[in-house]
């Protein structure tokens, strides 16, 4: 049995969980290629126009593998934490894909609730029974998948640079180097190191959220808001770079919340969509890096 896994969206955060689970079940895994121009173009032409870039690219990944596998895994992630949500498009992702792309193989679209083991088990059994008839095997696969996921720390750590920025944004925008046009490498080349959300402890992030009147109910908004404002307020970074896809409903709110919280702190918002030109993108990053350097010199001069 060949299971197709689109290498997109939250795959970047949960790839170990997904891959371990299906491998332990005894399925052969067919991964889509890394995002490229063809995947992007295919995705854009099949997906509904109003969707954001990551969703369009997900459609492209599905198109890339749909003829090479017997089952295709389209995660319907409803919730990752209790009483928190992620973007509504993730809850309806299988429907979006199934209704936009013709001739799909059978789709694995059971809802995933990530906050409790029993809910995960329900998902695992409903999904696993299509691949193997052995419940013990499914149970074992789930266990090792959870273990694999817990052991991983999927962050980018590079701190040997003179300037550091917090790289904020949804995981699929930060870790997919095609979507963000090699942003991390570009920043490193300019002598800027990046810190991502995984490097800040959870309780510190939660503490930041308490300053808000309303508890944000999106898992990612809590993480991004918590880690970037924590680093900014404690002067652990020189600036924040936010990678946001055009039309992202969640970003439209978090960016505003962060702006309100940090005031005059350097904050660069990079909007990406399928039309983004690389040259303009580079210019903005370079201008931001120049600004950070000048600020740094100024602050050091003031101190001495």
């Amino acid at each position: 049995m060949k299971v197709g896994i689109p290498k997109s969206l939250l795959y970047y955060k949960y790839y170990l969980f997904i891959e371990t689970f299906f491998r332990e079940l005894g399925a052969e895994i067919v991964l889509s290629k890394d995002t490229n121009k063809e995947i992007l173009n295919n995705g854009v032409s099949f997906c509904v126009d109003e969707a954001c870039l990551p969703i369009k690219i997900f459609h492209g990944h599905v198109l890339d593998i749909k003829d090479k596998c017997d089952l295709i895994f389209i995660p319907r992630i409803m919730q990752l934490e209790k009483d928190e949500f992620i973007c509504p498009k993730f809850c309806g992702l299988p429907e979006m894909v199934v209704n936009s792309i013709p001739d799909l193989p059978k789709v694995l679209k059971e809802p995933i609730y990530g906050y409790s083991k029993s809910k995960l088990r329900t998902w695992a059994f409903n999904t696993g029974k299509l691949i193997t008839g052995n419940p013990v095997k499914i149970d074992r696969a789930l266990k090792s998948a959870i273990e694999a996921q817990i052991s991983v720390k999927s962050g980018k750590e590079n701190g040997q640079y003179p300037i550091k920025v917090a790289l904020a944004g949804h995981p699929y925008n930060i870790y997919d180097s095609f979507i963000n046009m090699n942003l991390i490498k570009k920043l490193n080349k300019l002598g800027i190191g990046v810190i991502t959300e995984v490097e800040v402890e959870k309780n510190l992030k939660t503490k930041q959220i308490l300053s808000l009147y309303k508890r944000p109910f999106w898992t990612f908004s809590r993480e991004i808001f918590g880690f970037s404002t924590y680093l900014a307020e404690n002067y652990l970074i020189d600036g924040i770079v936010y990678v946001s896809s055009f039309g992202c409903g969640i970003d439209s709110v978090i960016i505003e919340l962060i702006k309100n919280k940090i005031g005059e702190f350097p904050f660069l918002i990079l909007k990406i969509d399928e039309e983004t030109g690389e040259a303009g993108f580079d210019t903005r990053i370079e201008a931001f890096s120049d600004m950070l350097e000048r600020r740094k010199v100024k602050i050091e001069n003031n101190i001495s």
Binding site: E50, D83, F85, N99, S252
Partner: protein, 363 residues
């Protein structure tokens, strides 16, 4: 304390009656205009959805009229609406307005005590007894049902009326007179009168007008200004229109949802296409599309604000329903830049298409 609240279609009548009866001071929000929207849009985050911009503009106008407290319903995700209050508070604060926000979240998510504390901030005027309070609430509920029924009936009868424009005029007069009244009781008797008046409209029963269902995002459907008065436009064309989502539906749905008895029909009919609640009213939109196809409507118009997350999912599914049921559905996406001329052209073209389909020559 002078309360103001976001405008939500016919809900304003119930709110007005309720505040009148409880002798609470309030500023009735204006029914929306372009000046307000422009102001709201210039102060809002760029990519936030249209309802935010309209509401913000409305609040500022009400504040200028003397309001100092904003009453706004909340929600806890996954739709953006739940985050409105925080952003709007910050914006109003930065403008120098010292405004108190009362956010009515579900008791489930903020705790019952916090909920009661927030409710207690709304103090009825002096000399209002418990009995009067209950009566006022009951009247408000009655009003919301009455006006929704009148609305529904008028929009339906438009297709059949012999004197063109009669229903539209009755509806307009009814709403204008209601806003001039004071108190729930007088409003109820006014609505009763207008309901009878509608029954007396001369109609041609043999006519077979076009029937269009309006589906999509709830605020955009309910608030006439945000959809550029699409229902009135359809009335002008002599088309019967129908919408399921209305304030009275919302009240009923919210009351039944703890028992999981809410909108069974929608859940059943959306099961095939979207079996989960994805937030906002995405599932309702799908359910209504399926239902209106089965109920013999000629077509449906989906309206949603640009960037609305749940409705984008629905929009991806609607073409499949349209194809499977042979049922035309058009999606209209609204933002502050929507030009009325282009908008009208699309509606007219859609009506032409439906008419040609309906009166097709079959020989």
């Amino acid at each position: 304390m002078k309360i103001t609240f976001p405008n939500l279609g016919n809900a304003r009548f119930a709110a007005k009656a309720l505040f009148d009866d409880l002798s609470i001071e309030y500023v009735l929000p204006s029914p929306g205009n372009h000046k307000e929207l422009e102001l709201g849009a210039s102060l809002s985050p760029e990519e936030i959805c249209l309802p935010f911009k309209i509401m913000l503009g409305g609040f500022i106008e009400s504040i200028e009229k003397g309001a100092d407290t904003v009453l706004i319903p909340g929600s806890c995700g996954p739709c953006r609406f739940g985050e409105y209050c925080e952003l709007q508070m910050n914006i109003l604060k930065s403008l120098g307005h010292n405004i108190d926000f009362i956010v009515l979240d579900y008791p489930k998510s903020i705790g019952t005590n916090e909920f009661l504390d927030r409710i207690k901030k709304i103090k009825p005027g002096k000399g209002v007894s418990k009995k009067e309070l209950i009566n006022a609430l009951r009247n408000a509920y009655k009003i919301i049902n009455q006006i929704d029924n009148i609305d529904k009936k008028a929009r339906h009868l438009t297709g059949f009326e012999i004197n063109k424009g009669e229903c539209k005029n009755i509806l307009r007069d009814c709403k204008m007179e209601a806003l001039a009244l004071h108190g729930g009781k007088s409003m109820i008797s006014l609505f009763k009168g207008y309901s009878k008046k509608l029954n007396k409209v001369i109609i041609d029963k043999n006519r077979n007008p076009l029937k269009i269902a309006i589906i999509g995002e709830i605020y955009n459907i309910l608030e006439p200004f945000s959809n550029l008065y699409i229902e009135d436009k359809l009335m002008d064309y002599g088309v019967s229109s129908y919408k399921k989502l209305c304030p009275s539906w919302w009240v009923k749905n919210a009351a039944l949802s703890p028992f999981k008895l809410n909108s069974l029909d929608i859940r059943l009919s959306s099961k095939e296409y979207l079996p989960y609640y994805i937030g906002g009213h995405g599932r309702e939109c799908i359910g209504e599309a399926v239902m209106s196809a089965a109920q013999g409507f000629d077509g449906a118009i989906q309206i949603f604000p640009m960037g609305c997350m749940p409705e984008i999912v629905s929009k991806a599914i609607l073409p499949t329903i349209s194809q499977a049921k042979n049922f035309p559905i058009m999606s209209l996406i609204m933002d502050e830049m929507t030009g009325e001329a282009g908008y009208d052209t699309r509606i007219e073209a859609f009506i032409d298409l439906l008419e040609r389909r309906k009166r097709r020559c079959v020989i």
